[in-house]
Symmetry: C2
Subunit: 574 residues, 2 copies
């Protein structure tokens, strides 16, 4: 019996309605982990998967054999974040299993089979983001991940290993890596698997084809020779070799090392009601009738401190970090819990100079590990917006602070509206809304395609890009910003309310699926990377397959797996 068969044994899948479930909560901390064990030994941390079988988000399935659901992934995400912020001394992370038989059996099949289509898609998106974050830690934070595959790694289990910098495998006959999704479940290794095989591990396409049709997987030296893993180590030498590799990687790390102290990611203060999700700096008003969320981000309450030591002292309450954590949480919450709210209106409120001051402090101290981490975290959070299947409209009004880092919110939006002038009835003496381009917009906050949002906006139009870049640091009023192509529309007070109303009502009248597809295409002009291929090519095909009767129908492979009945396929190739 393959490990997948074992994890699904006894399942009687059917589609689950989660309408009455409480909202999924992304806030967690190590003291409450049910599925992971985090241990530290100087510059090396060990993150061991130890999934609690009856610890699933719902009680419909058991998380056998280190299989995972969204709840397990939420803890993994938390652990990866805390390693970065709370443990500057850690230069290498060993990702392994607390069991000596199974590394990880992948996403729980009964959960997948029972989940409505939208939940499957959202779950995979978050899983992919976490894995990209692991690669980002390796590439940009000097925190390298080693997958110590000490038991079978199948499906999403092997895909998790693929996100690590180095994959080590116990060299015996029973410890294999495999991607059995296609032959057993009729779906793809869709959380990065296919893409990382050929584009990261450089597994030859025909070998990848064979490997992906072989449910029992590949072990030992053959796994090394096919580049599926980096090293196969006999069991007697296992612990010592893993420790040695981790020490080597930690020694190469640019992290501050022993003696450095991290900051604590204190619990986020969050208030969630039927109509509002609010934090200190972020507030989301939910309009269920209109299908709209109005998100307002508040700028810093004070000028930036004079030097980076204050950032360390303020820790999680330093504005940029605090607002990023809140944005991160609200994006995840809304994506997961509020699929009916299809349009997000983004506003800011505050002092642009203060935003720019905070940006400047961080960028001038990019050699400081914490300043670096905060910018990287902001980058990852903004990337979530790019792959969010909601229409995003930025509203730039008097009193707003779309400058530098916060201007990225408008540049990530599908459209932006900047008020030309002021609201005469409300506050005729207000300063008109201005946006400010700054260094944060020209480099540190890359999209998944490897370009800035500004570069993506003007891809192939170097002249407009150069002209925009010449405005760095200057407040741009509506007419000028529109002329430069930095905002979409610049209506005046008379037209403003009508234009926004029409845009949001129109959006609510369109096919939600077509909007998702359109946005997923036109947001990503220009080059593609492994990351965008995962969210574009791979995810789109997987979503198609998830929606096909051959996978998710009553006689489909995903639903029939573990029942003893074979899937009944429509054999037409599409």
């Amino acid at each position: 019996m393959t490990s997948l068969a074992a994890q699904a044994a006894g399942s009687a899948p059917g589609e689950t309605s989660q309408a009455d479930q409480p909202p999924v909560e992304f806030r967690v901390d190590p003291a409450r982990y049910r599925h992971w064990r985090l241990a530290f030994d100087g510059p090396v941390a060990t993150l061991a998967m130890a999934v609690t079988e009856r610890g699933g988000l719902t009680s419909d399935y058991e998380l056998k054999l280190n299989s995972y659901d969204l709840g397990v992934d939420i803890e993994l995400y938390d652990a990866v974040q805390r390693l970065r912020f709370e443990h500057p001394e850690v230069g290498a992370v060993v990702l392994t299993s607390a069991s000596d038989k199974v590394f990880c059996a992948g996403a729980n099949i009964r959960m997948l089979a029972g989940a409505p289509h939208g939940q499957k898609v959202n779950f995979c998106k978050f899983t992919n983001e976490t894995r990209n974050g692991i690669e980002d830690a390796t590439a940009n934070s000097g925190q390298a991940y080693i997958a110590a595959v000490n038991g079978t790694a199948s499906g999403g289990g092997y895909e998790l290993a693929l996100a690590c910098d180095r994959i080590m495998l116990i060299d015996d006959r029973s410890t294999a890596v495999s991607l059995p999704e296609l032959p057993l479940l009729g779906v793809l290794p869709g959380t990065g698997g296919l893409t990382r095989l050929v584009d990261k591990r450089r597994v030859r396409r025909d070998i990848a084809d064979y490997f992906c049709t072989r449910p029992e997987g590949v072990a030992g030296k053959k796994a090394v020779s096919w580049r599926l893993v980096d090293e196969a180590v006999p069991r007697p030498q296992w612990e010592q070799t893993v420790a040695q590799r981790a020490a080597e990687l930690a020694a190469q790390s640019g992290r501050p090392g022993p003696g450095a102290s991290g900051i604590e990611l204190t619990p986020l203060a969050k208030n969630r009601t039927e109509t509002e999700i609010s934090y200190t700096w972020v507030r989301a008003a939910l309009d269920r009738t209109a299908g709209v969320v109005a998100i307002t981000v508040t700028g810093p309450g004070n000028d930036a401190p004079a030097d980076v030591s204050a950032v360390h002292q303020q820790g999680a309450s330093f504005w940029t970090l605090a607002v990023t954590r809140e944005l991160d949480d609200v994006i995840l919450d809304l994506r997961t819990n509020e699929p009916d709210l299809g349009t997000w209106l983004l506003r800011t409120n505050g002092d642009s100079d203060r935003v720019l001051g905070h940006d400047k402090l961080l960028l001038e101290n990019s050699g400081d590990w914490l300043a670096n981490e905060i910018v990287l975290y902001l980058k990852r959070t903004l990337k979530r917006l790019d792959v969010t299947s909601r229409s995003i409209i930025a509203l730039i009004e008097p009193g707003s602070c779309f400058a530098g880092s916060l201007l990225e919110l408008a540049l990530a939006a599908d459209r932006s509206y900047q008020l030309d002038g002021v609201f005469e009835d409300e506050d005729p003496d207000a300063d008109p809304a201005a946006i400010v381009l700054a260094e944060m917009n020209t480099g540190p906050l890359l999209m998944g395609n490897g370009l800035t949002r500004l570069q993506t906006r003007f891809v192939g139009d170097d002249e407009s890009l150069a002209e925009a870049t010449r405005q760095l640091g200057l407040p741009l009023l509506a007419a000028e910003a529109a002329e430069l192509g930095l905002v979409t529309f610049a209506p005046d007070d008379i037209d403003w309310a009508d234009e926004i109303r029409i845009a949001t009502e129109e959006r609510a009248s369109f096919s939600p699926d077509a909007l998702t597809g359109m946005e997923a295409n036109i947001r990503f002009a220009g080059p593609e990377t492994m990351e965008t291929k995962i969210f574009g090519r791979l995810t789109a095909w997987q979503n198609w397959i998830f929606n096909r009767p051959n996978a998710a129908g009553p006689a489909g492979a995903l639903r029939r797996f573990g029942t003893g009945q074979r899937a009944d396929f429509d054999r037409k190739r599409i």
Copy 2:
């Protein structure tokens, strides 16, 4: 009423079964065109769309307002091919409408609404391939296409214009370009539209967003300023300006020009039965029980002629051109008419030296327009294989001629098997199978991703690529070819039959959808281009949408369009 509304008026859509239709036939010639008029004036050809309303492939719909179905596209493809081979004197092609009100209203909506999912997907694939071919003619054959948009161009109509090198628009209030798929039909502008907007025309993403939600489209100077078209011309100057632009482009062309004579694309001899499709050089045996097609390509019957003048004399019977036309037709026929046959086994039969001789003659005369056209056509035909949703397995046996151009068939395959030794029972004295890499494999036959199949195979592994390239011209037996990574497996006589049987039976047992998704991912390691984004990102999202109730369900936008009833959407964003 928008032009889309007009083309669908009176429709009562429902899903059509085409089970009893005769196979779709791709062979056509200008004398039998029902939908296009082709006229010549020295170096300028005019291709005018004049769709016969009652000329649809089936009688379920009327092709109002120059809307098109697969039959219209088949004629367009034929015209584009004939312009390249039969008209070396033509340096510019004006694509326009024979009607003065409507340029083209896009794919026929009633046809789309009624077509089963697989037919929609296959239709879009062929449409995309033809449009890429138009761009290939412009880029590589000196035959530039001008879209002379003399009436409304909506949806696929504007997408057709987007495939042209230059778009001219009559400047009046009623002549607009539009992509109304999203607001009116709940689907994407999925035959290149979204990708070409942002990646070819460099329309800014937020402008593209707005444009794609505006069913009435954009006309005149605004269309120019948004880069949707290149030029808006008042009606009085229209004909003269179009003629002038065409003459300018023709003057820049590297085509041979006046006096050159083309070759005739004579009718393909084809025999189609329930179990076989055969031509002169290509034979496909259809095994409906196994779901397998065995395709055999025969090499040249003679040595290549001594010089390129013989290629002109032989014309359509020159081996490389003849075999390419047959391959092209069999690929299109099987894709369209035989979706249940999920695995294609590719064999060759003949003399490798003769294949290489033909290749050499063509490459040594790449300055000759016809030699150039033949290689470009082979390139496009091989690209069809890359996006074909069938598992492709190459079988390299004694007597085969997988060399140079024909080796591309094996390099395009998902897997290849080369017999190690000979079939002892059949022909113990045969020469063992050898493959030969040659110049055709290292440049002229690029995939859509801009790399050769060899580069794609070894992407990121420069050492293996260099080692393979060092073998140019040398016959490689199975063990050596496998060692070099040029074939997947090298079984001997004892294992051969079993391995092939297991591979094909296994393939037939897997989910057809998952196979399509897997192949679409791992065939395209490495960089992406506009072309691969169209077949990857855009197509995959469109296929997902085509399969969703919000578009194709009984209350979906595509089915309800033109009925007076609004679509009833599930509002969840996925």
